[in-house]
Every structure is written in C-alpha cells, then in structure tokens.
C-alpha cells in the first residue's frame, strides 16, 4: 500500500461520504490497525493485559492460543462489540488509520461498517437470502438498485451466486452450514469493509466447506485486512501472513509472540510457544 496509483477499494465503499469518518479528523483509509497497551476487564476480572500488536493492511493476521486466553475478546474489542457485554471495560488504544476507536466519541455504526465480522457459528438472520444481504446495505445508505448490484457481486465473490441465484427469496436458514457461513461472509463484505474479523469461521464447518471458506479468505485478503482467530495451527500455517499468539500469564491473557507467520512457526522464540507448536502443552 505504498504506490499512489494503486486502486483503493475504500473508494467503492457504500455511504462513504457520511459513514467512513468514525471520529472527526480521521479521513485516511488503509485498513491498518495498531493496538497499543490494550487491557480488557469484565468487572474486577482482567482478561487481557497490555496487548500491543500492529495488524498490517491487506494481509491475513492469525490470532492463536489455547481456549480462554482472550482471543475472541481481543477480536471483539477491535470493532467494539465488547460494548454489548455487561461491565466490560477497555483501556489503551486501538488505532484504525491513526484514529483511536476506543474514543468515547467514536461512531460505532461507522466503525462496524469499516470493521466487518464473521462469527464462529453462521448467524444468518431469519430472513430471505436477499433480505439478509440488502438489509445492512440499505441501512448504510445504498439505494435499492445499487444494493441489488452489490448483492450479486458479493454472492459471486463468495461463490454462492450459482447456488442461490434461483432461490434468493427463500429463507437463509434453509442453506447448509457452509453456505450459511459464506452468506455471512458475503453479508459482511457487502459493506466493503477495510477490515474483516473472523472468529474461528471454520470451526462449525465440514472439511470441504472449510476449504471453500479458506480459499475465499485468501482471495479476499488481496483487498481487505483479515484478522482470524483460529485454534487450528495447520489452518493458521496455510492462511496467515502474520500471526500473534496469546497466552495466560497469572490468569490474564497477553501476547507472547507475534510477527510474520513463517518466522513464528519456524523459529518460535518463546519456549512455551515451541512446546505448544510441538504439541507438548495444550
């Protein structure tokens, strides 16, 4: 993202004039995230402490670690979905293109349109396939014809068009698990986010569907920054350009190593990490 002639997908983003600026004075859109001294607490219990991580634009960053180390909490902090949790408190900074998303003045709707999310279990709304895709786009300010065009585009990108073109008005809940997850991906992509957060998107899918979603994520990473939480080390190896490993220290989650995925997997500097990769600890 250095050449000035490079096409910026942000310019295609729906409702760009009104929704892109999440706080005053932040206009650049590269999809770069910088997390500085992030701590997350639920009431008195601290679940993440002093997390520092730079997520480079248009690459896949894998977030790894055992269960309960705060990977999903970290992911949901990036789009402030943690605000839905009772008594959750965030400290530190999360800079999206230099703009602190933890600022109390941050426009959460605009932030979440820029930072899309796909969940562990597919969660299409109990609406038709068409309405699932049109609803967020219409809410973001696209008119009906623009939204229809974009719908077809994202369905083609996710490889769903040929499978659902003749039944767009059927309930999304009639789709298979893999199709539902791709629909959720398409729904998130319909808003042309700069960043896509994926919380173990393949964990509820069969191997074939997982492969399809993985190929899709690789394709999408050309234009979108992807942050993926995964338990699956093999999947992280296949997908990730960058990686960060979360670990429990004194009952609180923190990052023990991060950097280019190849370096992390081949030459882990931390002995805990080496043991974990070797399968000696869980």
């Amino acid at each position: 993202m250095t050449g000035t002639a490079q096409h910026d997908p942000a310019s295609d983003r729906p409702g760009s004039a009104s929704t892109e600026t999440i706080t005053a004075g932040c206009g650049l859109t590269t999809g770069m995230l910088q997390v500085a001294h992030l701590s997350v607490s639920y009431g008195q219990r601290k679940v993440l402490r002093d997390v520092n991580l730079t997520i480079p634009p248009r690459q896949i960053t894998a977030i790894m670690g055992s269960s309960g180390v705060g990977k999903s909490t970290f992911l949901t902090a990036l789009n402030r979905l943690t605000d839905l949790e009772p008594r959750c408190r965030l400290e530190g900074q999360i800079l999206l293109d230099g703009c602190n998303t933890l600022d109390p003045d941050c426009d959460l709707q605009a932030l979440r349109r820029r930072v899309g999310m796909v969940f562990q279990r597919p969660n299409p709304f109990p609406l038709s396939i068409r309405r699932n895709l049109l609803l967020p786009m219409r809410d973001a300010g696209l008119n009906a014809s623009e939204a229809e065009i974009r719908m077809e585009q994202v369905l083609r990108e996710t490889g769903l068009w040929t499978e659902v073109a003749d039944r767009l008005n059927q309930s999304a809940l009639t789709l298979s698990g893999g199709q539902q997850q791709r629909l959720c991906l398409a729904r998130a992509m319909a808003l042309s986010p700069e960043i896509l957060l994926c919380d173990e998107p393949c964990s509820a899918l069969d191997p074939m569907s997982s492969q399809t979603v993985e190929e899709l994520l690789t394709k999408l990473s050309r234009t979108v920054t992807i942050v993926i939480v995964t338990h699956n080390l093999a999947q992280a190896r296949r997908l990730a350009d960058q990686a960060a490993v979360f670990w429990l220290r004194n009952g609180t989650g923190c990052i023990i190593d991060s950097g280019p995925a190849d370096r992390l997997f081949e030459q882990p500097v931390n002995p805990d990490l080496e043991a974990w990769f070797a399968g000696r600890v869980g």
């Binding site: 349109r113 969940f119 709304f125 609406l127 309405r131």
Partner: protein, 285 residues
C-alpha cells in the same frame, strides 16, 4: 435399551397420566362449548346481533353491547400494547447490556400486579379515572382500567418473547452496524412475533372476558353509547347481569356467551393471519 426404558412402569404410568390429563382438558372444553351452543344457538340469530337490547336484555339483541365492548377493548389495546412493548424492550435492553437493579424491581412489581384480583383494579380505576380524573362511569374509564389490569401480564409475556430472540442475531446486527430501529423492525420483531402474538391474544382474552373491573368503571346501562365519556355495557357484564339479575335471561346470556367466544375466535384467527402476512413481508420470503 431405549425400548426397555420406555416400557418401565414409571414411564408407562407417566404416559397414562399425561394422556388422562389431556383427555380431561378436552372433555371440559367439549362440555363447555356444547353446553353453551345448545342453550345459546336457540336464541342466536342475525337479528340478535343487529338489534338493540330490550326489556333488560331478555328480548331484542346486543348491538349496543357489542359497540361498547369494541370501544372498551380498542381503548385498552391502544394504550396497553405500546406501553407494554416499550416497557418490555427496556427490560430486555437492560438485561442484555448491564446488570440493572431497576429492572429486577420492576419485574417483581409487575409479577405482583399480574396476580392482583381484577376487582382491585376496578376499585383503583373507579377512584382514579372515574372520580379523580372526572371521567365518570364511562367507556374511556373502563378501557383505561382494563389497560392497567392487563399491562403487567402483557409486559411479562412480551418480555419473555423478546428474551427468546437469540443473542447471535443481535450480535450479528450490531457487527454490521445496523441501526437499532432496523434491528428491531427486521430482526427482533419477526423473531419474537409468535410469542408477542400469543401474549397479546392471551391478554386480549383476559380483557374481553373481564366483568368485575368494568362494573365499577364503565357502568352497565344498555343504551347506545354516544361518546367515549358515555357509560356502556360490555358483553361479559351483559352476560353476568342476564344470568344473575334478570329472570328469564338465561337464553340471552348463553347466546351472548357464544357471540363472545366467536368474537375471540375471529380476532385470534385474524390476528395470527395478519401477523403471518406481516412477517412474510418483512422477511422477504
């Protein structure tokens, strides 16, 4: 293994007991409806619906009574539905987003109010609406009293229905930056609709069959109501009066009861049909 378990004595006993219970409910319902139909159909005719009551209801029909009943129920629903839905939304909002002491207290108060006998609401309505707010014994006072009476039940049922909307839908909507209004209209309402409709119809049934609270507030004159501040007699009050106070009024009471049941049935079917149509429109299926 499963067969062996299902053939065990306690299992068989449970199956027999539940079947007997179901049969008992069915028998009570059949006895009630056939008894009513047999005594009421004799008196029931189109003119019974169309004519005004004569000789304290022994003769003529129930047209003015139906008008008063419709007006009282309309006022009751007009007030109670938005208020109860708003309150249920507030409760759900608090329960999902934060630990709220206010919500718990409100729920306890509502549960207590829902258990109060209707005659207490009648006394409350008479004091507040009829006397203090100077509405007199009127359709308006009756409707408002009924609204107060069914409000706790409606809030409870609406709150339960909203609670059953899966968190994953709400998190999905929030992650897409969907506005609260659009989330409510397109996702929460269609998902909670069966529960909301069941709650609405249950409370409507309770309001439509209420007698005690209305005796104190909307009065029991059988004349044609000319305004909302006029007194009026509702169907349950009419049935009560014919059965208890009017010699020879039993046939008209049974016929009125059949009409009341038919009205509730029609409202039920129409409401479910309209709700189904609306859900289909919103979901785009």
């Amino acid at each position: 293994m499963l067969d062996q378990v299902s053939r065990s004595v306690p299992d068989r006993l449970m199956k027999i007991a539940s079947t007997l219970a179901a049969l008992l409910v069915l028998l009570v319902f059949l006895h009630l409806t056939t008894g009513l139909l047999m005594s009421g159909l004799e008196r029931l005719s189109w003119s019974f619906i169309r004519l005004e009551p004569l000789h304290s209801g022994r003769q003529g029909g129930i047209s003015f009574v139906l008008m008063a009943t419709g007006a009282v129920l309309a006022i009751c629903l007009l007030i109670s539905v938005p208020v109860s839905f708003g309150c249920a939304l507030w409760i759900q909002d608090r329960s999902r987003s934060q630990v709220s002491r206010g919500r718990k207290w409100l729920q306890r108060c509502l549960d207590l109010l829902a258990g109060l006998p209707s005659i207490v609401f009648g006394l409350f309505g008479m004091t507040l609406f009829c006397h203090q707010l100077r509405m007199g014994y009127s359709i308006l006072a009756g409707g408002l009293t009924l609204a107060c009476m069914i409000l706790p039940l409606q809030v409870r049922l609406a709150s339960d229905a909203l609670e059953r909307v899966p968190d994953e839908y709400l998190r999905g909507a929030a992650a897409l930056g969907l506005s609260r209004v659009r989330t409510l209209w397109h996702i929460v309402l269609p998902t909670a609709l069966p529960g909301l409709m069941a709650g609405l119809l249950l409370s409507l049934g309770r309001a439509a069959s209420e007698t005690a609270a209305l005796l104190f507030t909307s009065g029991y004159v059988t004349r044609r109501p000319t305004s909302l501040l006029d007194s009026g007699r509702t169907l349950p009050v009419h049935i009560y009066d014919l059965a208890m106070n009017i010699p020879g009024g039993e046939a008209s009471a049974s016929a009125s009861a059949v009409v009341l049941m038919a009205c509730l049935l029609v409202i039920n079917v129409a409401a479910m049909h309209l709700a189904g149509r609306w859900r289909q429109t919103v979901s785009g299926e």
